[in-house]
């Protein structure tokens, strides 16, 4: 269906779509306030599972994909209880340790072909599959966003104790988010393996993590459309700029990440960013901070 596009453009398109899937995975964990650096580890699990199944067994591609997603989800579920108990920086470190441990295990094991990676994975993934997969993901995301779970997730992110006090099972919300994010990352890894036909342990390092995090953080926590649209926009921008070679891209992404964090620590879809802008557009003067003399109703109606 997409044969009218050049192969290179098609490849870029597929890469962008797979990247979107990874962005979705990270976004899900961010929605509930989990600072997990583990997605690359799960993507590695997914990629290698699919690769091994494809190259060493006769099972069809769909089986490999399913196995990859499920295995990544299972590993996520296994490590969720200890990792989710941690908070803040400890969680970041713990998840990073988990991801790196997975990658190192892959690198030193024989049956994953060690540091050489696996090549010759059959190209099974067509663009249509990716679009379908993403469409399904978006539907599920939107349903989740509008459901009780979506609201519970937001509550957990904003204030855990209050959420707990309101009767939300915080652990269950985080567990579901973490595990499904792991499964999605595994699926993305598997799809990528089948698209690029070669995988090695080194590709699951910091570089992709930074890119994905840039998109997720810049896109913001409010709605999944933020990071997704941003991913598409920036990918197109990057192709248009034709910044050849990986050096400048990495530097630009690193700088962009830092700059965005400085300007908008909560992401670009954070309403408070635009508050000043909206006020000015509506013609009001910038608000003075509420003083102790003003009654509460007057402040609220400003």
């Amino acid at each position: 269906m997409f044969d009218w596009l050049e192969p290179l453009t098609l490849f870029r398109l597929d890469t962008a779509l797979i990247l979107t899937l990874l962005v979705v995975s990270v976004h899900v964990t961010f929605r509930v306030g989990i600072m997990s650096l583990a997605p690359m580890g799960f993507a590695a699990v997914g990629g290698y599972t699919a690769a091994i199944i494809a190259t060493k067994t006769e099972l069809p591609f769909a089986a490999g994909l399913l196995a990859a997603t499920v295995l990544a989800g299972v590993i996520g579920a296994l490590f969720a209880p200890p990792v989710l108990r941690l908070r803040g920086i400890y969680m970041a470190l713990g998840s990073l340790a988990l991801a790196q441990a997975i990658v190192v295990l892959i690198r030193i094991s024989d049956f994953t072909n060690g540091p050489n990676g696996i090549a010759g994975i059959p190209v099974e993934v067509k663009t249509e599959y990716l679009i379908v997969a993403l469409a399904v993901a978006f539907v599920v995301l939107e349903l989740g966003h509008r459901s009780h779970f979506g609201r519970a997730a937001k509550a957990v992110r904003l204030d855990e104790r209050t959420a707990e006090g309101l009767g939300i099972n915080v652990f269950r919300v985080r567990f579901v988010a973490f595990t499904s994010a792991a499964a999605i990352a595994g699926c993305a890894g598997a799809l990528e393996a089948h698209r690029t036909t070669v995988i090695s342990p080194d590709q699951y390092g910091f570089a992709t993590l930074v890119i994905v995090f840039t998109y997720v953080l810049v896109g913001g926590n409010g709605h999944w459309a933020g990071p997704v649209l941003l991913t598409w926009g920036l990918t197109i921008l990057r192709d248009l700029l034709q910044v050849a070679g990986s050096h400048w891209e990495d530097i630009i992404y690193g700088v962009l990440l830092v700059v965005v964090l400085l300007v908008a620590p909560n992401g670009l879809s954070d309403r408070s960013l635009y508050r000043g802008l909206r006020r000015r557009l509506r013609g009001r003067t910038s608000p003075t901070p509420p003083t102790i003399e003003e009654p509460a109703e007057k402040v609220a109606s400003r």
Binding site: P82, Y90, A97, L261, L262
Partner: protein
């Protein structure tokens, strides 16, 4: 016995790394993911100095200053504005990851991803023979430096005015500022010291391996974190002991189990400690987990 000594030797590098990182964590509550790259830059600066013909102690100093200044710049231009905006915790982590990526890429481009040879002359190389065991000289010097650094830090923090300022800021930043302490200066000093200490570790590692590349530091990053998690975040004593323990465990694991496990040890320790006793051996019991 020989293995224990080897382990202590390896551990002394880790200890020195840990001391720097724990200082920054204890005072600022920040884990600097760019730490490894900063120390690699320090090693390269020392390499450049050595190539210019400068004597070894001067080259080490050059490396220390470079890494220290780089750390301070990171704090001034990236972390301090984030603090001013009261950014959420993960912003700091991600920001330092972003900076690490930039530093790595610049270094990789500059060195064309080649591994450079690091000259060994002037460094204490070779080994002592103590009670029949082979004790590598370089590591003994490093351990000595680590211990001296710890003692100096303890003296500085406990007996000097500026050290008191650091402790005040670590305890409660706003109160310290109200009392007239320049917290930004305190942060800068801590970052400088952390960077300088890490550079020393990096330089000695480069000397013992006789080479250095843009990715030399990467393996050390998680080791540094493992050290401070094991020893307790915020405790200098814990960092030293944690580093030594980690070194010994690593050496024993590789010799008795399998050499492939060397890299896993750090991660395994991080995970195990975080699950069982997040405050580590000597750390304060903070709300690390529910």
């Amino acid at each position: 016995m020989q293995q224990t000594i080897n382990g202590l030797a390896v551990g002394s590098t880790y200890a020195l790394l840990g001391v720097g990182v724990t200082l920054v964590w204890g005072v600022l509550g920040i884990l600097n993911f760019a730490h490894a790259q900063i120390l690699t830059w320090g090693s390269f600066a020392a390499l450049a100095a050595l190539r210019l013909g400068l004597p070894v102690p001067v080259a080490i100093l050059v490396g220390m200053v470079t890494a220290g200044v780089l750390s301070v710049l990171l704090d001034l231009f990236v972390l301090s504005p984030l603090r001013a905006r009261k950014a959420p915790e993960f912003s700091f982590v991600v920001a330092t990851i972003g900076v690490a990526l930039v530093l790595t890429t610049v270094l990789r481009t500059y060195t064309d991803a080649q591994t450079e040879a690091f000259p060994r002359q002037g460094f204490p190389v070779g080994a002592f023979e103590i009670a029949g065991q082979n004790v590598p000289r370089l590591q003994v010097v490093m351990l000595a430096i680590a211990v001296v650094a710890m003692a100096a830090l303890a003296f500085w923090l406990n007996r000097t005015r500026s050290g008191r300022a650091v402790r005040a800021v670590a305890y409660n930043r706003e109160t310290a500022e109200l009392l007239g302490v320049n917290s930004q200066l305190v942060f800068s000093i801590c970052f400088f010291v952390a960077g300088a200490l890490a550079a020393v570790a990096g330089i000695f590692v480069a000397a013992s391996a006789a080479q250095v590349s843009y990715s030399s530091g990467d393996g050390l990053l998680l080791v540094a974190f493992a050290v401070i998690i094991l020893g307790g975040m915020g405790s200098v004593k814990g960092a030293i002991i944690g580093g030594l323990v980690l070194g010994v465990v690593e050496v024993y694991a590789t010799s008795y189990v399998s050499s492939v496990f060397r890299e896993i040890i750090a991660f395994a320790i991080i995970l195990a400690v975080l699950v069982a006793r997040p405050s580590g051996l000597f750390g304060k019991k903070e709300a690390a987990r529910v």
